[in-house]
Amino acid sequence: MSHAHKMSFWEKYVFSTDHKMIGLQYMFTGIAMAIIGGFFVYVFRMQLAFPGISVPGYGEVTPLAYNSLVTNHGTIMIFWFAMPVLIAAFGNILIPLMIGCDDMVFPRINRLSYQIFLLSALVLVASFFVPNGGFGGAWTAYPPLSAEAAYNATPLGAPMWLIAVALEFVAFLLGGINFITTMMNARAKGMTMYKIPIVLWLIVIASILFMLSVGPLIAGAVMLLFDQLLGTHFYNPGGGGDPLLWQHLFWFFGHPEVYVVLLPAMGIVADIMAVFARKKLFGYRTILYSVFATGILSFVVWAHHQFIAGIDPRMANLFTVTTLLISIPIAELCFVYIATLYGGSITFNTPMLWAISFMVEFLIGGVTGIFLGASGADIYFHDTYFVVAHFHYTFVPIAIIGFYAGITYWFPKIFGKMLDDKLGRIHFWGTIIPFNFIFIPLFVLGTAGQHRRIFNYEYFQDLALAEFYNLRVIATVSLLVMIAFQFVFVYNFVKSLRKKEKAPKNPWNANTLEWTADSPPPHGNWPELPVVYRGPYEYSHPDRESDWWPQHEPGPDPADPDYQSPSQNPQTT
């Protein structure tokens, strides 16, 4: 470390205002929460496949505990793993490094953001240990189940869950302000709008979506909290309220939220694909405009979650149309990525495998979404395991594959060591194959009519058939295999960190600015801030001998209309 004064442990790791350290704090907190969420899924999947057994490491699952496990698995994986890792961690680490500045614009607000986030995580974890356990009203927290302690049976867990969620949103609100302002105001010289790497655009657009959608949820959460604690009747029809109101407020946030976590993962994948296909990203502006369209449309699709909640069928028709419309820009993104790969000289290393598998798996999630978006089909599919499988085919690629793609790609920059590629591939195949074996059976079960949020299928004759149990056991065993393979990653992570040899500055020959900083970058990132001369994806340019053309290297910009190719005019250099 090159900075002048030596910082104490607390200054450096706990109360740091350095964007990279805050990013790592977010990442490790997110991973810790994911381990809790992963443990929960292990417990309730065991209960589903082998009802009534004493789950090793947990014990027998009661119905109340089952509800709490399912609820908090969903909450943790979306709010305390996908969001902090994909947006907060990668955003914090990458934004200043890729736009070429020394830190976020508001470093102290950034630190405050993490501290509030940590507090929210602690409140949530604490809620598992209060009498009657954590909240069990499903992660969507529909009233009256969530509003009345008599129904959800968790008088303490429910408000704590809600407070934790609200605190977490305050944390991301502060982070989002920082991200947007930093990208607008702190870019390096020469970094114009269309020279910003796609991953940053997508993280910032995700932040904008989050900022615009979170207000209604915070308003709804405060009203729900008042219903729980003060006895108001915002959501109680008996007292003049309306339970559907919560669903509208929740999903007005909830649906853009899907894109809030999707977009950063899509951006990570775009950058990785361009680097390892050694090709210019196909249609930079197409991606950008598709994402703008996605962002706008994501605000008018929310009621497709409520097709059977009693909304007006004419409104359901409208939301079917918008829901099918939003698949167009997302499909466009997929085609652009395929076009980027087409004709490239692809290196199949760990980050690239994750990136390609993201596309493949996410596509299954997207296509099955069409069935659910059609209001007619949704009447049958609603709240079945088809829905569960569908959104896991979107969220697992986003959160888990997106995270692994990003961490394996930027690991040398963040930690200054190289990850082992062979172990990485073992981990990759050991995750991807069981993942499909978990959720394809769930599609089948859902199509056969198996409803979700049922503690024990023994109680339902139609669902307690042997064929169904076979599929449930396949899913659960695959889950165990998938969890077991995560230890390969942990081993690889620790082993690589303890390696002696340091990673080179730019192991992938990538163009973007973060690879010009030391690995890991010191406090302040560069002794002198870089200057940008061209776009981030000038790979295999015909006028260059090497197949990459870094953004910071002085020289002409091939995207400039005045650019003269040396091959056309050999006189110019």
């Binding site: 607008m184 010289k189 949820l217 709804g220 006895g231 309306d242």
Partner: protein, 195 residues
């Protein structure tokens, strides 16, 4: 939106179009607008679901007193505007005086509001008496919290006027927030009190 983006070898300093503190505050205010927008739309949905609104057994809101009170808040916003003009013209003492008046007017607003609340509670309009009461205290209470937060900022700026050099951008950031708090009030007054 840096001006230096035109010319990579241009001036050393970046000059953003909008200072960071102002931009950050504008983004925050947009979120706040969505927050109040949600509260208002929830209120309107509940209202449209009731045949009699306000519910016949609930006390009426003090329309005229609040109209006067609205004037105080708007006047406070205008004073901050003039304070900023004086500040830009580098007449700091005049700017400080204007800001002082603005703070005083805002305090009058808070005082009258508290007086109203005490009276309303006495008349039996509470958070639990009806959804009418719930929404009234919810929406107006959220606004009141914003007034308190903004007042804290304004007082901090006021105290900074003489001791330390006040950065114009941080004053502008606070102003953006205050204009939002002032500007949203007539909307709330119209929707909650008048309809």
């Amino acid at each position: 939106m840096t001006t230096s983006s035109e010319d990579p070898t241009g001036s050393e300093t970046r000059r953003p179009l909008v200072p960071s503190s102002v931009l950050g505050m504008i983004i925050f205010v947009l979120t706040e607008m969505m927050f109040f927008g949600a509260l208002i739309s929830a209120f309107l949905i509940i209202k449209s679901g009731n045949i009699m609104w306000p519910p016949p057994d609930q006390p009426r809101l003090p329309i005229s007193l609040t109209a006067v009170n609205t004037m105080f808040l708007v006047a406070s916003g205008v004073c901050v505007y003039f304070s900023n003009k004086a500040f830009a013209a580098r007449s700091d003492s005049w700017a400080k005086k204007q800001l002082g008046i603005a703070i005083a007017l805002a305090l009058v607003f808070v005082g009258i509001q508290s007086y109203e609340w005490v009276r309303m509670l006495g008349h039996g309009l509470t958070m639990r008496s009806s959804t009418y009461g719930s929404f009234f205290y919810m929406i107006i209470g959220c606004h009141a919290l914003h007034v308190f937060a903004a007042l804290t900022f304004l007082i901090r700026i006021y105290l900074k006027f003489e001791t330390v050099a006040l950065k114009p951008s941080s004053y502008w950031g606070v102003q953006v927030f205050w204009y939002f708090v002032v500007g949203v009030w007539p909307v709330l007054y119209y929707l909650v009190y008048l309809s």
